[in-house]
Protein backbone atom coordinates (compact mmCIF):
# COMPACT_ATOMS: atom_id res chain seq x y z
CA UNK A 1 0.00 0.00 0.00
CA UNK A 2 1.61 3.25 -1.11
CA UNK A 3 1.32 6.19 1.22
CA UNK A 4 -1.02 8.90 0.00
CA UNK A 5 0.61 11.46 2.24
CA UNK A 6 3.86 11.22 4.12
CA UNK A 7 5.70 13.59 6.44
CA UNK A 8 9.28 12.93 7.48
CA UNK A 9 11.04 14.79 10.31
CA UNK A 10 8.86 17.81 9.67
CA UNK A 11 9.35 20.94 11.75
CA UNK A 12 7.56 24.24 11.41
CA UNK A 13 8.65 27.52 12.95
CA UNK A 14 6.44 30.59 12.53
CA UNK A 15 8.04 34.00 12.58
CA UNK A 16 5.59 35.82 14.80
CA UNK A 17 5.95 39.48 15.82
CA UNK A 18 6.93 38.41 19.33
CA UNK A 19 9.62 36.10 17.96
CA UNK A 20 9.83 32.62 16.43
CA UNK A 21 7.16 30.09 17.45
CA UNK A 22 8.01 26.43 17.10
CA UNK A 23 4.65 24.96 16.10
CA UNK A 24 5.81 21.47 15.09
CA UNK A 25 8.90 19.40 15.75
CA UNK A 26 10.07 16.02 14.45
CA UNK A 27 6.78 14.95 12.90
CA UNK A 28 6.99 11.56 11.19
CA UNK A 29 3.96 9.74 9.87
CA UNK A 30 2.11 8.76 6.74
CA UNK A 31 -1.45 8.21 5.69
CA UNK A 32 -1.96 5.19 3.47
CA UNK A 33 -4.27 5.21 0.50
CA UNK A 34 -7.83 4.89 1.75
CA UNK A 35 -6.78 5.26 5.35
CA UNK A 36 -8.66 7.26 7.95
CA UNK A 37 -6.22 8.92 10.34
CA UNK A 38 -7.33 11.07 13.26
CA UNK A 39 -5.03 13.77 14.60
CA UNK A 40 -5.81 14.32 18.25
CA UNK A 41 -4.42 16.99 20.53
CA UNK A 42 -5.22 19.99 22.69
CA UNK A 43 -5.66 23.35 21.00
CA UNK A 44 -2.43 25.08 20.07
CA UNK A 45 -0.51 21.84 19.54
CA UNK A 46 -0.16 22.45 15.81
CA UNK A 47 -3.03 20.44 14.33
CA UNK A 48 -4.13 23.19 11.96
CA UNK A 49 -0.51 23.78 11.02
CA UNK A 50 -0.17 20.10 10.15
CA UNK A 51 -3.18 20.38 7.88
CA UNK A 52 -1.85 23.45 6.11
CA UNK A 53 1.44 21.64 5.48
CA UNK A 54 -0.40 18.62 4.11
CA UNK A 55 -2.30 20.83 1.67
CA UNK A 56 0.69 22.86 0.49
CA UNK A 57 -0.78 26.06 1.85
CA UNK A 58 2.22 26.44 4.15
CA UNK A 59 5.63 24.84 3.87
CA UNK A 60 7.76 23.15 6.55
CA UNK A 61 10.87 24.87 7.89
CA UNK A 62 12.56 21.48 8.04
CA UNK A 63 11.82 17.97 6.79
CA UNK A 64 9.69 16.85 3.87
CA UNK A 65 6.03 16.54 3.00
CA UNK A 66 5.15 14.34 0.04
CA UNK A 67 1.93 13.42 -1.70
CA UNK A 68 1.92 10.08 -3.56
CA UNK A 69 5.69 10.12 -3.30
CA UNK A 70 6.15 13.59 -4.81
CA UNK A 71 7.30 16.48 -2.61
CA UNK A 72 4.68 19.20 -2.23
CA UNK A 73 5.84 22.48 -3.75
CA UNK A 74 2.51 24.17 -4.52
CA UNK A 75 -0.97 24.32 -3.05
CA UNK A 76 -2.45 20.87 -3.58
CA UNK A 77 -5.62 21.06 -5.67
CA UNK A 78 -6.55 17.38 -5.84
CA UNK A 79 -7.86 17.60 -2.33
CA UNK A 80 -10.91 18.50 -0.25
CA UNK A 81 -10.44 20.73 2.78
CA UNK A 82 -12.84 21.51 5.59
CA UNK A 83 -11.32 24.40 7.51
CA UNK A 84 -11.76 25.02 11.21
CA UNK A 85 -14.04 27.96 10.35
CA UNK A 86 -16.60 27.24 7.64
CA UNK A 87 -15.18 29.82 5.18
CA UNK A 88 -18.50 30.15 3.37
CA UNK A 89 -18.76 32.96 0.85
CA UNK A 90 -21.44 35.26 2.29
CA UNK A 91 -22.47 36.55 -1.14
CA UNK A 92 -23.27 33.11 -2.53
CA UNK A 93 -26.34 31.08 -1.76
CA UNK A 94 -25.86 27.64 -0.20
CA UNK A 95 -25.96 25.74 -3.50
CA UNK A 96 -23.62 28.26 -5.15
CA UNK A 97 -21.19 27.93 -2.24
CA UNK A 98 -20.91 24.22 -3.01
CA UNK A 99 -20.85 24.86 -6.76
CA UNK A 100 -17.81 27.16 -6.51
CA UNK A 101 -15.63 24.05 -6.73
CA UNK A 102 -16.87 22.75 -10.10
CA UNK A 103 -17.10 26.34 -11.35
CA UNK A 104 -13.47 27.21 -10.58
CA UNK A 105 -12.29 23.80 -11.79
CA UNK A 106 -14.23 24.14 -15.04
CA UNK A 107 -16.30 20.99 -14.54
CA UNK A 108 -19.71 20.20 -16.06
CA UNK A 109 -22.00 22.47 -14.06
CA UNK A 110 -25.25 20.62 -14.87
CA UNK A 111 -23.88 17.30 -13.74
CA UNK A 112 -22.37 18.72 -10.58
CA UNK A 113 -25.45 20.69 -9.63
CA UNK A 114 -27.32 17.43 -9.16
CA UNK A 115 -24.37 16.12 -7.15
CA UNK A 116 -24.40 19.23 -4.99
CA UNK A 117 -28.12 18.82 -4.31
CA UNK A 118 -27.60 15.16 -3.41
CA UNK A 119 -24.76 16.03 -1.03
CA UNK A 120 -26.80 18.79 0.64
CA UNK A 121 -29.63 16.31 1.06
CA UNK A 122 -27.21 13.83 2.61
CA UNK A 123 -26.27 16.32 5.32
CA UNK A 124 -29.90 17.28 5.90
CA UNK A 125 -29.96 20.62 4.12
CA UNK A 126 -32.73 19.97 1.62
CA UNK A 127 -34.76 23.14 1.27
CA UNK A 128 -31.85 25.42 2.19
CA UNK A 129 -30.21 25.47 -1.25
CA UNK A 130 -31.29 29.04 -1.97
CA UNK A 131 -30.58 30.53 1.46
CA UNK A 132 -27.67 32.84 2.12
CA UNK A 133 -25.08 31.64 4.68
CA UNK A 134 -26.17 34.25 7.23
CA UNK A 135 -29.58 32.60 7.34
CA UNK A 136 -28.03 29.33 8.58
CA UNK A 137 -26.93 28.17 12.02
CA UNK A 138 -23.25 27.48 12.72
CA UNK A 139 -23.76 23.74 12.36
CA UNK A 140 -25.59 24.07 9.07
CA UNK A 141 -22.87 26.34 7.72
CA UNK A 142 -20.18 23.80 8.54
CA UNK A 143 -22.21 21.08 6.82
CA UNK A 144 -22.30 23.22 3.67
CA UNK A 145 -18.52 23.52 3.82
CA UNK A 146 -18.26 19.74 4.13
CA UNK A 147 -20.33 19.38 0.95
CA UNK A 148 -18.02 21.85 -0.77
CA UNK A 149 -15.01 19.73 0.21
CA UNK A 150 -16.61 16.56 -1.16
CA UNK A 151 -18.29 17.65 -4.39
CA UNK A 152 -15.29 17.18 -6.70
CA UNK A 153 -14.67 13.72 -5.25
CA UNK A 154 -11.07 14.28 -4.06
CA UNK A 155 -8.96 11.23 -3.16
CA UNK A 156 -7.64 12.99 -0.03
CA UNK A 157 -9.83 14.76 2.49
CA UNK A 158 -8.44 17.08 5.17
CA UNK A 159 -10.81 18.08 7.95
CA UNK A 160 -9.92 20.54 10.70
CA UNK A 161 -12.25 20.11 13.70
CA UNK A 162 -15.21 20.06 11.32
CA UNK A 163 -17.77 19.23 14.02
CA UNK A 164 -16.40 21.57 16.67
CA UNK A 165 -19.25 24.04 16.27
CA UNK A 166 -22.05 21.47 16.27
CA UNK A 167 -24.33 20.57 19.15
CA UNK A 168 -23.78 17.10 20.63
CA UNK A 169 -26.75 15.44 18.87
CA UNK A 170 -26.03 16.78 15.40
CA UNK A 171 -22.41 15.99 16.01
CA UNK A 172 -22.99 12.31 16.67
CA UNK A 173 -25.13 12.12 13.56
CA UNK A 174 -22.52 13.85 11.42
CA UNK A 175 -19.80 11.56 12.75
CA UNK A 176 -21.82 8.53 11.66
CA UNK A 177 -22.56 10.07 8.25
CA UNK A 178 -18.87 10.74 7.74
CA UNK A 179 -18.04 7.17 8.75
CA UNK A 180 -20.55 5.71 6.29
CA UNK A 181 -19.31 8.02 3.56
CA UNK A 182 -15.75 6.91 4.18
CA UNK A 183 -16.72 3.22 4.20
CA UNK A 184 -18.44 3.76 0.87
CA UNK A 185 -15.76 5.85 -0.87
CA UNK A 186 -12.58 4.86 0.96
CA UNK A 187 -10.89 8.21 0.55
CA UNK A 188 -7.75 8.96 2.51
CA UNK A 189 -8.81 11.17 5.39
CA UNK A 190 -6.82 13.29 7.80
CA UNK A 191 -9.29 14.19 10.51
CA UNK A 192 -8.21 16.78 13.06
CA UNK A 193 -10.06 16.90 16.36
CA UNK A 194 -9.64 17.56 20.07
CA UNK A 195 -12.36 15.06 20.96
CA UNK A 196 -10.95 11.71 22.09
CA UNK A 197 -14.11 9.66 21.41
CA UNK A 198 -14.68 11.16 17.98
CA UNK A 199 -11.04 10.55 17.04
CA UNK A 200 -11.21 6.88 18.01
CA UNK A 201 -14.67 6.13 16.66
CA UNK A 202 -13.81 7.28 13.15
CA UNK A 203 -10.20 6.27 12.66
CA UNK A 204 -8.03 3.31 11.85
CA UNK A 205 -5.17 5.05 13.62
CA UNK A 206 -5.10 7.99 16.01
CA UNK A 207 -2.08 10.25 16.04
CA UNK A 208 -1.88 11.73 19.54
CA UNK A 209 -0.04 15.04 19.83
CA UNK A 210 1.52 17.01 22.66
CA UNK A 211 1.88 20.78 22.57
CA UNK A 212 4.65 23.38 22.48
CA UNK A 213 6.29 22.37 20.26
CA UNK A 214 3.81 19.97 18.66
CA UNK A 215 5.22 16.46 18.78
CA UNK A 216 3.78 13.01 18.26
CA UNK A 217 3.15 11.30 21.60
CA UNK A 218 2.00 8.04 20.06
CA UNK A 219 0.20 6.66 17.05
CA UNK A 220 -2.58 4.45 18.45
CA UNK A 221 -3.94 1.56 16.36
CA UNK A 222 -7.72 1.40 16.60
CA UNK A 223 -8.60 -2.29 16.24
CA UNK A 224 -12.36 -1.87 16.41
CA UNK A 225 -14.46 -3.73 13.81
CA UNK A 226 -16.28 -1.93 10.98
CA UNK A 227 -18.85 -0.58 10.48
CA UNK A 228 -18.67 1.40 13.69
CA UNK A 229 -21.90 2.48 15.30
CA UNK A 230 -22.82 4.74 18.22
CA UNK A 231 -23.02 1.52 20.28
CA UNK A 232 -19.34 0.91 19.52
CA UNK A 233 -18.62 3.54 22.15
CA UNK A 234 -20.10 1.21 24.77
CA UNK A 235 -17.79 -1.70 23.95
CA UNK A 236 -15.01 -2.67 26.26
CA UNK A 237 -12.26 -2.20 23.68
CA UNK A 238 -13.44 1.34 22.90
CA UNK A 239 -13.42 2.29 26.57
CA UNK A 240 -9.91 0.83 26.90
CA UNK A 241 -8.66 2.88 23.96
CA UNK A 242 -10.17 6.07 25.38
CA UNK A 243 -8.50 5.35 28.72
CA UNK A 244 -5.19 4.69 26.99
CA UNK A 245 -5.27 8.06 25.20
CA UNK A 246 -6.37 9.80 28.37
CA UNK A 247 -3.35 8.36 30.19
CA UNK A 248 -1.10 9.54 27.38
CA UNK A 249 -2.39 13.07 27.86
CA UNK A 250 -1.97 12.80 31.62
CA UNK A 251 1.59 11.62 31.23
CA UNK A 252 2.39 14.59 28.98
CA UNK A 253 0.70 17.05 31.29
CA UNK A 254 -2.11 17.86 28.87
CA UNK A 255 -4.72 16.47 31.25
CA UNK A 256 -4.42 16.89 34.98
CA UNK A 257 -4.40 13.75 37.13
CA UNK A 258 -7.01 13.66 39.92
Amino acid sequence: MSAALSLSSVGKIYQAKSGPVQALDGIDFSIGEGEFLSILGPSGCGKSTLLSLASGLEFPTSGNVALSGKPITHAVTDIGIVFQTDVLLEWRRVLDNVMIQPQIRGLDMKLYEQKARDLLALVGLTGFEDKYPHELSGGMRQRVSICRALIHDPPLLLMDEPFGALDALTREQMVMELHLLWLRTRKSVMFVTHDIQEAILLAQRVLVMTPRPGRIAEIVEVDLPFPRKPETMETRRFVELVAHVRHLFERHGVLKKY
Binding site: S52, S55, L57, A75, V76, T77, I79, I81, F83, T85, V87, L89, E90, W91, R92, I100, Q101, Q103, I104, R105, Y132, P133, H134
Partner: protein
Protein backbone atom coordinates in the same frame (compact mmCIF):
# COMPACT_ATOMS: atom_id res chain seq x y z
CA UNK B 1 -48.25 36.14 19.76
CA UNK B 2 -49.18 39.68 20.63
CA UNK B 3 -48.26 42.23 18.01
CA UNK B 4 -47.89 45.86 18.90
CA UNK B 5 -48.55 48.56 16.38
CA UNK B 6 -45.27 49.99 15.22
CA UNK B 7 -44.16 52.78 12.94
CA UNK B 8 -42.72 51.21 9.78
CA UNK B 9 -38.91 51.56 9.92
CA UNK B 10 -38.78 53.32 6.56
CA UNK B 11 -40.84 56.23 7.94
CA UNK B 12 -38.63 56.92 10.98
CA UNK B 13 -36.54 59.51 9.16
CA UNK B 14 -39.54 61.26 7.63
CA UNK B 15 -41.22 61.43 11.02
CA UNK B 16 -38.24 63.09 12.67
CA UNK B 17 -38.02 65.50 9.73
CA UNK B 18 -41.69 66.39 10.10
CA UNK B 19 -41.26 67.02 13.82
CA UNK B 20 -38.30 69.35 13.14
CA UNK B 21 -40.32 71.28 10.54
CA UNK B 22 -43.27 71.70 12.92
CA UNK B 23 -41.02 72.81 15.82
CA UNK B 24 -39.29 75.25 13.50
CA UNK B 25 -42.53 76.75 12.25
CA UNK B 26 -44.07 77.02 15.71
CA UNK B 27 -40.84 78.40 17.22
CA UNK B 28 -40.49 81.12 14.62
CA UNK B 29 -44.16 82.18 14.95
CA UNK B 30 -44.33 82.05 18.75
CA UNK B 31 -40.96 83.77 19.15
CA UNK B 32 -41.79 86.39 16.53
CA UNK B 33 -38.46 85.81 14.80
CA UNK B 34 -38.21 88.19 11.81
CA UNK B 35 -37.94 86.64 8.33
CA UNK B 36 -34.53 88.20 7.66
CA UNK B 37 -33.05 86.17 10.52
CA UNK B 38 -34.84 82.85 10.24
CA UNK B 39 -37.72 82.34 7.82
CA UNK B 40 -40.34 79.71 8.78
CA UNK B 41 -40.71 76.58 6.65
CA UNK B 42 -43.97 77.91 5.24
CA UNK B 43 -42.18 80.95 3.81
CA UNK B 44 -39.50 78.72 2.34
CA UNK B 45 -42.13 76.49 0.74
CA UNK B 46 -43.91 79.50 -0.66
CA UNK B 47 -40.67 80.84 -2.09
CA UNK B 48 -39.90 77.51 -3.64
CA UNK B 49 -43.18 77.50 -5.54
CA UNK B 50 -42.78 81.13 -6.52
CA UNK B 51 -39.21 80.81 -7.83
CA UNK B 52 -39.49 77.25 -9.09
CA UNK B 53 -38.20 78.16 -12.55
CA UNK B 54 -34.88 79.65 -11.47
CA UNK B 55 -34.42 77.10 -8.70
CA UNK B 56 -34.84 74.20 -11.12
CA UNK B 57 -32.43 75.86 -13.54
CA UNK B 58 -29.71 76.18 -10.92
CA UNK B 59 -30.47 72.75 -9.45
CA UNK B 60 -29.99 71.22 -12.89
CA UNK B 61 -26.61 72.95 -13.26
CA UNK B 62 -25.37 71.77 -9.87
CA UNK B 63 -26.75 68.26 -10.36
CA UNK B 64 -24.84 67.95 -13.63
CA UNK B 65 -21.55 68.95 -11.95
CA UNK B 66 -22.17 66.64 -9.01
CA UNK B 67 -23.09 63.64 -11.13
CA UNK B 68 -20.14 63.96 -13.49
CA UNK B 69 -17.64 64.49 -10.64
CA UNK B 70 -19.14 61.68 -8.59
CA UNK B 71 -19.28 59.23 -11.50
CA UNK B 72 -15.73 60.10 -12.49
CA UNK B 73 -14.53 59.46 -8.94
CA UNK B 74 -16.23 56.05 -8.92
CA UNK B 75 -14.83 55.12 -12.31
CA UNK B 76 -11.28 56.12 -11.38
CA UNK B 77 -11.10 55.17 -7.67
CA UNK B 78 -12.37 51.60 -7.72
CA UNK B 79 -10.09 50.27 -10.47
CA UNK B 80 -7.18 52.17 -8.89
CA UNK B 81 -7.87 50.54 -5.53
CA UNK B 82 -8.25 47.15 -7.22
CA UNK B 83 -4.86 47.61 -8.91
CA UNK B 84 -3.17 48.83 -5.73
CA UNK B 85 -4.55 45.84 -3.84
CA UNK B 86 -2.65 43.51 -6.20
CA UNK B 87 0.69 45.28 -5.74
CA UNK B 88 1.73 45.86 -2.16
CA UNK B 89 4.94 47.69 -2.96
CA UNK B 90 3.21 50.13 -5.30
CA UNK B 91 0.59 50.71 -2.64
CA UNK B 92 3.26 51.39 -0.03
CA UNK B 93 4.83 53.96 -2.36
CA UNK B 94 1.62 55.66 -3.49
CA UNK B 95 -0.43 55.62 -0.32
CA UNK B 96 1.50 58.34 1.56
CA UNK B 97 1.24 60.56 -1.52
CA UNK B 98 -2.51 59.93 -1.61
CA UNK B 99 -2.88 60.82 2.05
CA UNK B 100 -0.69 63.90 1.70
CA UNK B 101 -2.70 65.11 -1.28
CA UNK B 102 -5.82 64.68 0.77
CA UNK B 103 -4.64 66.99 3.55
CA UNK B 104 -4.75 69.94 1.11
CA UNK B 105 -8.15 71.59 1.64
CA UNK B 106 -10.15 71.51 -1.60
CA UNK B 107 -11.45 74.99 -0.83
CA UNK B 108 -7.88 76.26 -0.97
CA UNK B 109 -7.16 74.91 -4.44
CA UNK B 110 -10.54 75.84 -5.92
CA UNK B 111 -9.38 79.31 -7.08
CA UNK B 112 -6.33 77.70 -8.67
CA UNK B 113 -8.51 75.25 -10.58
CA UNK B 114 -10.57 78.15 -11.86
CA UNK B 115 -7.38 79.81 -13.12
CA UNK B 116 -6.38 76.59 -14.86
CA UNK B 117 -9.72 75.42 -16.21
CA UNK B 118 -11.83 78.57 -16.55
CA UNK B 119 -15.27 79.44 -15.31
CA UNK B 120 -17.25 76.59 -16.87
CA UNK B 121 -18.18 73.09 -15.83
CA UNK B 122 -14.63 71.72 -15.56
CA UNK B 123 -13.38 73.17 -12.25
CA UNK B 124 -16.59 72.29 -10.39
CA UNK B 125 -16.55 68.74 -11.70
CA UNK B 126 -12.89 68.48 -10.80
CA UNK B 127 -13.37 69.62 -7.21
CA UNK B 128 -16.30 67.26 -6.77
CA UNK B 129 -14.12 64.50 -8.20
CA UNK B 130 -11.16 65.29 -5.95
CA UNK B 131 -13.25 65.37 -2.82
CA UNK B 132 -15.00 62.06 -3.65
CA UNK B 133 -11.89 60.28 -4.78
CA UNK B 134 -10.20 59.63 -1.45
CA UNK B 135 -12.94 57.94 0.61
CA UNK B 136 -13.74 55.63 -2.28
CA UNK B 137 -10.09 54.63 -2.78
CA UNK B 138 -9.48 54.06 0.92
CA UNK B 139 -12.60 52.00 1.54
CA UNK B 140 -12.23 50.03 -1.69
CA UNK B 141 -8.64 49.20 -0.86
CA UNK B 142 -9.71 47.90 2.54
CA UNK B 143 -12.42 45.94 0.74
CA UNK B 144 -10.12 44.33 -1.81
CA UNK B 145 -7.93 43.22 1.10
CA UNK B 146 -10.77 42.09 3.33
CA UNK B 147 -10.87 38.39 2.46
CA UNK B 148 -9.49 36.41 5.43
CA UNK B 149 -6.53 34.08 5.04
CA UNK B 150 -8.80 31.04 4.93
CA UNK B 151 -10.64 32.35 1.87
CA UNK B 152 -7.42 32.70 -0.09
CA UNK B 153 -6.44 29.24 1.14
CA UNK B 154 -9.73 27.86 -0.12
CA UNK B 155 -9.12 29.60 -3.44
CA UNK B 156 -5.61 28.20 -3.74
CA UNK B 157 -6.76 24.68 -2.88
CA UNK B 158 -9.09 24.90 -5.87
CA UNK B 159 -6.26 26.09 -8.10
CA UNK B 160 -7.72 29.48 -8.97
CA UNK B 161 -5.95 31.71 -11.43
CA UNK B 162 -5.32 35.29 -10.28
CA UNK B 163 -8.16 36.49 -12.45
CA UNK B 164 -10.61 33.88 -11.08
CA UNK B 165 -9.51 34.87 -7.61
CA UNK B 166 -10.14 38.54 -8.33
CA UNK B 167 -13.58 37.97 -9.87
CA UNK B 168 -14.91 35.31 -7.51
CA UNK B 169 -13.40 36.30 -4.18
CA UNK B 170 -11.86 39.77 -4.09
CA UNK B 171 -14.59 41.76 -5.80
CA UNK B 172 -17.61 40.33 -3.93
CA UNK B 173 -15.80 40.66 -0.60
CA UNK B 174 -14.87 44.25 -1.46
CA UNK B 175 -18.34 45.43 -2.50
CA UNK B 176 -19.74 46.28 0.96
CA UNK B 177 -16.64 48.38 1.67
CA UNK B 178 -16.81 50.02 -1.75
CA UNK B 179 -20.43 50.99 -1.14
CA UNK B 180 -19.52 52.45 2.24
CA UNK B 181 -16.95 54.68 0.54
CA UNK B 182 -19.31 55.62 -2.26
CA UNK B 183 -21.98 56.60 0.26
CA UNK B 184 -19.59 58.97 2.05
CA UNK B 185 -18.52 60.34 -1.32
CA UNK B 186 -22.13 60.90 -2.41
CA UNK B 187 -22.57 63.47 0.35
CA UNK B 188 -19.19 65.07 -0.33
CA UNK B 189 -19.76 65.45 -4.09
CA UNK B 190 -22.30 68.20 -3.52
CA UNK B 191 -19.95 70.04 -1.17
CA UNK B 192 -17.31 69.93 -3.90
CA UNK B 193 -19.56 71.34 -6.59
CA UNK B 194 -20.80 74.14 -4.32
CA UNK B 195 -17.23 75.09 -3.35
CA UNK B 196 -16.43 75.37 -7.06
CA UNK B 197 -19.48 77.53 -7.69
CA UNK B 198 -18.61 79.81 -4.77
CA UNK B 199 -15.31 80.70 -6.41
CA UNK B 200 -16.57 81.49 -9.88
CA UNK B 201 -19.85 80.62 -11.57
CA UNK B 202 -22.82 82.08 -13.39
CA UNK B 203 -25.21 79.27 -12.51
CA UNK B 204 -25.76 76.51 -9.95
CA UNK B 205 -27.15 76.45 -6.41
CA UNK B 206 -23.84 77.72 -5.01
CA UNK B 207 -24.06 80.72 -7.32
CA UNK B 208 -27.70 81.30 -6.35
CA UNK B 209 -26.74 81.12 -2.68
CA UNK B 210 -24.03 83.79 -3.16
CA UNK B 211 -26.52 86.01 -4.99
CA UNK B 212 -29.17 85.56 -2.29
CA UNK B 213 -26.66 86.34 0.46
CA UNK B 214 -25.47 89.41 -1.41
CA UNK B 215 -29.05 90.68 -1.61
CA UNK B 216 -29.66 89.80 2.06
CA UNK B 217 -32.49 87.59 0.79
CA UNK B 218 -32.40 85.14 3.71
CA UNK B 219 -35.55 83.32 2.63
CA UNK B 220 -34.00 82.50 -0.77
CA UNK B 221 -30.78 81.40 0.97
CA UNK B 222 -32.76 78.97 3.10
CA UNK B 223 -34.72 77.78 0.10
CA UNK B 224 -31.47 76.96 -1.70
CA UNK B 225 -30.11 75.22 1.42
CA UNK B 226 -33.24 73.07 1.60
CA UNK B 227 -32.88 72.14 -2.08
CA UNK B 228 -29.22 71.29 -1.50
CA UNK B 229 -29.96 68.97 1.38
CA UNK B 230 -32.78 67.33 -0.61
CA UNK B 231 -30.31 66.78 -3.43
CA UNK B 232 -27.87 65.21 -1.00
CA UNK B 233 -30.49 62.92 0.48
CA UNK B 234 -31.64 61.84 -2.98
CA UNK B 235 -28.14 60.99 -4.12
CA UNK B 236 -27.48 59.04 -0.92
CA UNK B 237 -30.77 57.20 -1.29
CA UNK B 238 -29.88 56.33 -4.87
CA UNK B 239 -26.60 54.74 -3.76
CA UNK B 240 -28.41 52.96 -0.95
CA UNK B 241 -30.96 51.55 -3.40
CA UNK B 242 -28.25 50.27 -5.72
CA UNK B 243 -26.54 48.66 -2.73
CA UNK B 244 -29.70 46.90 -1.62
CA UNK B 245 -30.22 45.63 -5.12
CA UNK B 246 -26.62 44.55 -5.64
CA UNK B 247 -25.85 43.11 -2.19
CA UNK B 248 -28.95 41.38 -0.85
CA UNK B 249 -26.69 39.29 1.37
CA UNK B 250 -24.93 42.18 3.01
CA UNK B 251 -24.50 42.45 6.78
CA UNK B 252 -25.86 45.94 7.36
CA UNK B 253 -29.17 44.96 5.80
CA UNK B 254 -29.17 41.81 7.82
CA UNK B 255 -29.06 43.95 10.96
CA UNK B 256 -31.98 46.09 9.80
CA UNK B 257 -34.08 43.05 8.90
CA UNK B 258 -33.36 41.55 12.32
CA UNK B 259 -34.44 44.80 13.92
CA UNK B 260 -37.81 44.64 12.20
CA UNK B 261 -38.82 41.37 13.81
Amino acid sequence: MKTRWRIPGSLDGLLVGAIIVVLWEVGVRVGNVPNYLLPPPSAIAQRMVQDIGSILYHTAATTLEVMIGFALAIIVSIPLAAALAQMRTVERMLYPVLVASQTIPKVAIAPLLVVWFGFGLAPKVLIAFLICFFPIVVDSLIGFRSAPKEVSWLARSMGTTRWQNFINFQIPAALPHIFAGVKVASTLAIVGAIVGEFVAADRGLGYQLIVANGALDVTLSFTVLVVLSLLGVLLYALVDMVERWALPWHVSQRAIEGDGR
